[in-house]
Amino acid sequence: MESRAKILQALSKKFTDSPAPLPEVKVFPPVAGEPVDKFEFILRGIGGRTVRVNSYSEINDFIAKEYTSNARIISLVKEVSGSAITPDIDPHTFENVDLVILQPHFGVAENGAAWITSDRMGDRALPFISQHIALVITTDSILHNMHEAYDRIGNTNQPFGTFIAGPSKTADIEQSLVLGAHGPKSMTVFLLSVNR
C-alpha cells in the first residue's frame, strides 16, 4: 500500500490556483426524423440486420425458418421460443449455442447500439459466446443519441451492462471488414412495432 500513499501524495500537490470546472453536458438537439428509421439505417451500415415485425409470433416464424430444429437456441425473451437456462450453469457450456435471443432496454439511433444489462442476459457470457445473436426492441424504445442513453441509464446499479452495435467484427487484416471475429457472426434486431 506504500505506492498508494506515494501516488496520492504526488497528486495532492496543487497544480493550479484555478482548477478547471466540470462543464455542463449540453442537451444536443436530436437530428430530425424518426429515430427508428435512423437506427435501422445505421445498424445495417455496420453489419447488423433489422427485421420489422408486428408481433412475437412473427419473430418465432422468422427464426423457425432460419434454424433447424436441432439448433441450440436460447431465448431470454419469454414470448420468443427457445430453451431457457438453468441458473449457475458453467458458461463454457454455451460454446455450442447457435442463437441467443435477448431483449435490451433500448436502442440508440445515432449509432445502432442497444443497451443490455446482465439481468437480461441469463449469463453474461451469452451475448458474446453465441454464434449468432438476435435482439428484440420495441419501436418506441429507440433513443436519439448517447446523451439520452445515459440519461435513461441514470444511476441504475447493474453488475454488468453493455452497448452492442452489430455482430462482432474486425478489420485488422488490411482493413477488410470481416464479421464474426470472436463473438456472434450475425446480429438480427427485431423491431417490434407498438401501437400507441
Binding site: 501516488i7 445515432e110 487484416i173 471475429a181
Partner: protein, 463 residues
C-alpha cells in the same frame, strides 16, 4: 531499457526504401482518416463535443487525487480489489502475483496500451506464464514477435499475404491462402480454444467512472468480453488518467472515440464492468508510471487527456510514411512523440523532431491536445537538457550568430547564400541531404536587399 541504436530518421529512411509499400501504408491510413472525417461530419455538434470532452479531461487532471479516491471507494464497494502501482515493474509484479495466486500458467489478454507500455508480456513470459493476445491484430504481431505498430490497428503495416504465410507457419492454414475472411475464421477457431481454457483474463480500460467504480472497455471483436466472461479472474489494468467523473460523461466520450478512431459510429461492444460475475474475482490495477510527475509539467500535462483513439497517427503525414516501428515506443505517432520523452528523455530525444509541426494531429484530437505545440516545447527542453548532437548545436549557434548581426548576414549572404550553406550542417552528414533527391534553388543574381538598394534607394523611396 535497452539503448536504441537507430533514431527515427534512420528507420524512416529504411522504411522508405520500398516506395510502393510506403504508398500502400499511407493510403490505408489516409482512408481511415477520411472515414473519420465522414463520421465527424454526421455530428453537427462535433466541435462542441470535442470542447466539452477536453474540458471534462482538464477537470479530471486538476482533481485526479479526489476522483481516484472516489473511484477506489466505489470499486471496493462493488467487490473489486483495487491495486496501486507506482511504476511499470510494480504493475507487472502485481499482475503476476494475482495470476500465481490462482495457480494459472496460461492467460488471455485483450488490448491494453498500458500493458504494452509496461512490457507486461515479456515480464510474464519470463515468469513462465503464457500470454495470448486475443485482439486479432495484436495476435498477428505477437505471432510475428513484434510490438504493435499502431495503438488501434496493431498490424496495419502487415499485408494479407504476409499474414497468410504467418498463419500457415503458426496455425497450419494452407499455404498461399491470404483471404481475410478465411484467415479471420482460422484465428477465431484458434483463439476460441484459448478463451475456453483460460482462467485469467486481462483487459485494458478505456474509461473508469469515479461515480460508480465501473470500468468501460470498448472492442469490436468482443475479445475482452469473451475473455472476462469465461474466466475466474478479471484483471483490468489502467493508467490513473483514465478516470472520468460521472457516468453521463461516457455519452460524450463514446460519441467521440470510435468515430475518431475508425470512423465507426461506436465500437461493437462498449462494456461496463461494475461487479464481478458470481464466483469471479475482479482486480483493477491503477498505474502511475510517470503520470503524477507529468502532471506537474505545465507544458506537457495535458497529454494525459489522451483517450488513445489513434486519430493523430492516421492523420500524421510523417507516421503514414515512416511506419509505427520507426518510433520505437509502444505508442507511436504524434501522441507517442510527446509521451515517450516524458518517460525517458535520452532514449526518445529523436521523436519530437520527427514532425513538420503541421498541426493536423491537434485538429483531429477528440480531446483537443495541443500535440504540435508540445512537440515544439519538447524540442526546447531536449536541447536545453543537452540531448542534441554537438554538430547540430555548433551549426545552429553559428546561424544564430549570423542572424543577429545584419552586417555579417548581408556579407555571408552575398558570398554564399548562407541558407543552403548552413542547412547541411544541421545533420551529421557529409553529403548534402537536400540535394540527394531535390534540386537546390537557383541562386539569383542579387538578393532582394541588394535589389532594393539599387532600385529603390536612388528613387528616394526609402523611409
Amino acid at each position: 531499457m535497452e539503448q536504441k541504436i537507430y533514431d527515427h530518421a534512420v528507420l524512416a529512411d529504411k522504411f522508405n526504401k520500398d516506395a510502393s509499400r510506403v504508398d500502400w501504408h499511407d493510403k490505408t491510413l489516409w482512408f481511415i482518416r477520411e472515414k473519420r472525417d465522414k463520421a465527424a461530419w454526421q455530428i453537427a455538434e462535433w466541435e462542441e463535443l470535442r470542447e466539452t470532452a477536453s474540458q471534462v479531461k482538464n477537470n479530471v487532471l486538476d482533481n485526479l487525487h479526489d476522483y481516484l479516491l472516489e473511484f477506489e471507494k466505489q470499486a471496493q464497494q462493488n467487490g473489486v480489489t483495487v491495486h496501486w502501482a507506482a511504476n511499470a515493474e510494480e504493475h507487472n509484479r502485481i499482475v503476476h502475483a494475482i495470476i500465481k495466486e490462482h495457480g494459472v500458467s496460461d492467460i488471455v489478454k485483450s488490448k491494453s496500451m498500458l500493458t504494452e507500455e509496461c512490457h507486461l508480456n515479456e515480464y510474464l513470459q519470463q515468469q513462465g506464464i503464457t500470454v495470448v493476445d486475443t485482439d486479432l491484430g495484436e495476435r498477428i504481431v505477437q505471432l510475428a514477435g513484434e510490438p504493435p505498430s499502431h495503438i488501434v490497428l496493431p498490424c496495419i503495416h502487415w499485408k494479407k499475404e504476409e499474414i497468410g504465410e504467418l498463419f500457415h507457419q503458426h496455425l497450419g492454414t494452407p499455404k498461399g491462402n491470404a483471404d481475410p475472411q478465411f484467415l479471420t475464421a482460422a484465428a477465431r477457431e484458434h483463439l476460441r480454444q484459448r478463451f475456453m481454457t483460460s482462467r485469467v483474463a486481462i483487459t485494458g480500460v478505456n474509461f473508469a467512472v469515479a461515480e460508480t467504480g465501473e470500468v468501460v472497455v470498448c472492442t469490436n471483436e468482443g475479445n475482452a468480453d469473451l475473455g472476462v466472461q469465461l474466466a475466474e479472474v478479471h484483471i483490468a489494468c489502467m493508467g490513473i488518467e483514465k478516470i472520468i467523473p460521472q457516468r453521463k460523461h461516457l455519452g460524450i466520450f463514446l460519441r467521440l472515440l470510435a468515430r475518431s478512431a475508425t470512423g465507426q459510429p461506436v465500437t461493437t461492444y462498449s462494456s461496463h464492468f461494475r461487479k464481478p460475475r458470481p464466483g469471479q474475482a475482479m482486480h483493477i490495477v491503477l498505474v502511475d508510471n510517470g503520470r503524477s510527475e507529468r502532471l506537474q509539467q505545465e507544458s506537457f500535462r495535458n497529454a494525459l487527456k489522451c483517450i488513445r483513439c489513434g486519430a493523430c497517427m492516421n492523420t500524421c503525414p510523417v507516421y503514414r510514411r515512416s511506419g509505427g516501428h520507426s518510433y520505437q515506443y509502444a505508442i507511436a505517432g504524434p501522441i507517442g512523440s510527446i509521451l515517450a520523452p516524458g518517460l525517458d528523455m535520452k532514449q526518445h530525444a529523436d521523436l519530437p523532431f520527427a514532425s513538420t509541426l503541421c498541426g493536423s494531429c491537434s485538429n483531429v484530437c477528440p480531446v483537443k491536445i495541443n500535440i504540435h505545440e508540445q512537440l515544439y516545447e519538447w524540442r526546447q527542453v531536449l536541447v536545453k537538457s543537452g540531448h542534441v548532437s554537438p554538430v547540430k548545436k555548433a551549426g545552429i549557434s553559428g546561424m544564430a550568430a549570423v542572424l543577429e548581426r545584419p552586417g555579417i548576414y548581408k556579407f555571408s549572404g552575398a558570398v554564399g547564400r548562407w541558407f543552403m550553406k548552413y542547412i547541411p550542417v544541421l545533420v551529421n552528414n557529409k553529403l548534402n541531404p537536400w540535394y540527394k533527391q531535390r534540386e537546390m534553388p537557383a541562386v539569383p543574381r542579387q538578393s532582394f536587399n541588394e535589389w532594393y538598394r539599387q532600385n529603390r534607394k536612388q528613387n528616394g523611396k526609402q523611409s
